[in-house]
């Protein structure tokens, strides 16, 4: 790994200032960035650790929505979101392994937007709002394809606001070696309708399955989507599963999500 200068500011404003330096990059839990730097796929000149900023950590209720700080670890969400939004807690508690969950954060996961990551599915299916140091971004505008987001250079995710659904579930089919989602589906039922987000399947990253949303908004039962299918064009194909396998898996997991929503 190439060397760099390490800074650890204690406020968002200081972090934004530090990130304006040439070659600066944010570091949150490091569970993606450190392996990437070891492979020299990233070589920042300055690393700005966000883990020293106390007011971007934690889970709280805010006007009927659940507010999660950008630097909140998966382990803390798994525990503290439990009584407000259990499906979100289930998702966080199923990421990687306990040591990954002690360090990895929601802000890092969303900024990275790995096509097989779990959190993007929750954020998109909840119609959540991503809050940064300078603006609010609707989930529908935030994810812009594999590893691509609406974030500008040096922009920091400070939190996420999740509207709390009546019922929801995240169903993840594990890729057992990486422990990411081979495919994962988040189903959320709101008074205004049902949203379904699929991760791990499309080469374009997380997406909404709008046809299933319409059917489930009319009738929230596994039978409502039994006759639907997703096209396999554009799905990820690798040694773990073909495109057709993933398209079918997304449909099967959606049905399981509806059946287990709580």
């Amino acid at each position: 790994m190439h060397n760099f200068d390490f800074v650890k500011p204690s406020s968002v404003a200081d972090a934004v200032r530090a990130l304006s330096a040439e070659g600066a990059q944010a570091l949150s839990g490091g569970q993606t960035l450190l392996p990437t730097m070891k492979q020299r796929l990233a070589a920042p000149a300055v690393l700005v650790s966000l883990t020293g900023i106390a007011d971007t950590k934690g889970v709280s209720l805010s006007g009927g929505a659940l507010s999660v700080g950008g630097a909140t670890t998966h382990a803390v969400v798994a525990q503290e979101a439990r009584k407000h939004y259990p499906a979100l807690a289930d998702l966080a508690g199923g990421i990687g392994d306990p040591a990954v969950r002690s360090r990895g954060t929601i802000g890092g996961s969303l900024a990275n937007n790995d096509p097989s990551a779990c959190y993007p599915a929750a954020v998109l299916a909840s119609g959540a709002t991503v809050i940064t140091d300078r603006r609010r971004i609707a989930a529908d505008d935030f994810f812009q394809g594999m590893f691509a987001t609406a974030l500008h250079d040096g922009e920091i995710i400070t939190g996420v606001l999740f509207p709390i659904p009546e019922k929801a579930a995240y169903v993840k089919f594990n890729q057992p070696a990486s422990r990411f989602a081979l495919t994962g589906v988040f189903v959320a039922k709101y008074g205004s309708g049902v949203r379904v987000a699929v991760t791990g399947a499309s080469a374009n990253g997380v997406f909404r399955w709008t046809e299933a949303e319409r059917a489930l908004s009319a009738s929230f039962t596994p039978a409502a989507i039994a006759g639907l299918s997703l096209p396999s064009e554009g799905m990820i194909a690798d040694l773990h599963g073909s495109a057709a396998y993933r398209a079918n898996l997304a449909r099967v997991l959606t049905g399981r999500g509806v059946a287990s929503a709580h």
Partner: protein, 161 residues
């Protein structure tokens, strides 16, 4: 080089590190605490797990400077004050929870984190919690037995398959 200070196994320590110095390197090369093993260096195997402020972390995937001021516990801190094996370590020995021993420091640290959180886990909870710790020798069965024994539960019920 920057000076970093932290508490390791109850003792205040410090040393000069670069930005890129991993916690695993600081422990092994800076402090000579070579009980923490580096198996993969790619965040996959869990051999390097230590506790930072009571939570299990992969020390190969944390910069030493990012945990300045923290309380770190390594396998060297798991023995009793008189040098005899701690409860979890003794259970690994009694139940043949290791063969080559390479994964064992991480296994013991993960097991200790589990038992601190959940003092009487079920067999499936133990297996699930140790998902991030890979062992190439034992087939895991005796590791699971050792963790259950360390929790004071009867392991006769966990029959070899």
């Amino acid at each position: 080089m920057t000076n970093v200070t932290m508490t390791v196994n109850g003792k205040a320590v410090s040393g000069d590190v670069e930005g890129r110095t991993l916690l695993s390197s600081f422990l092994r090369e800076g402090l000579g605490l070579t009980g923490t093993h580096v198996g993969c260096d790619t965040s996959q195997c869990g051999a390097c797990v230590v506790h930072v402020d009571g939570k299990p972390v992969k020390s190969c995937t944390v910069f030493a400077l990012d945990v300045a001021g923290a309380a770190v516990k390594t396998i060297e801190g798991m023995a009793n004050a008189d040098g005899s094996l701690g409860v979890i370590q003794q259970a690994f020995q009694d139940h043949h929870g290791l063969q080559c021993g390479f994964c064992t420091p991480g296994m013991v640290m993960s097991a200790a984190a589990l038992l601190a959180d959940n003092p009487k886990p079920t067999e499936s909870e133990v297996r699930h919690y140790l998902e991030g710790n890979i062992c190439r020798c034992t087939g895991y069965h005796n590791i699971v037995k050792a963790v259950l024994a360390a929790s004071g539960q009867d392991v006769a019920a966990v029959a070899a398959e």
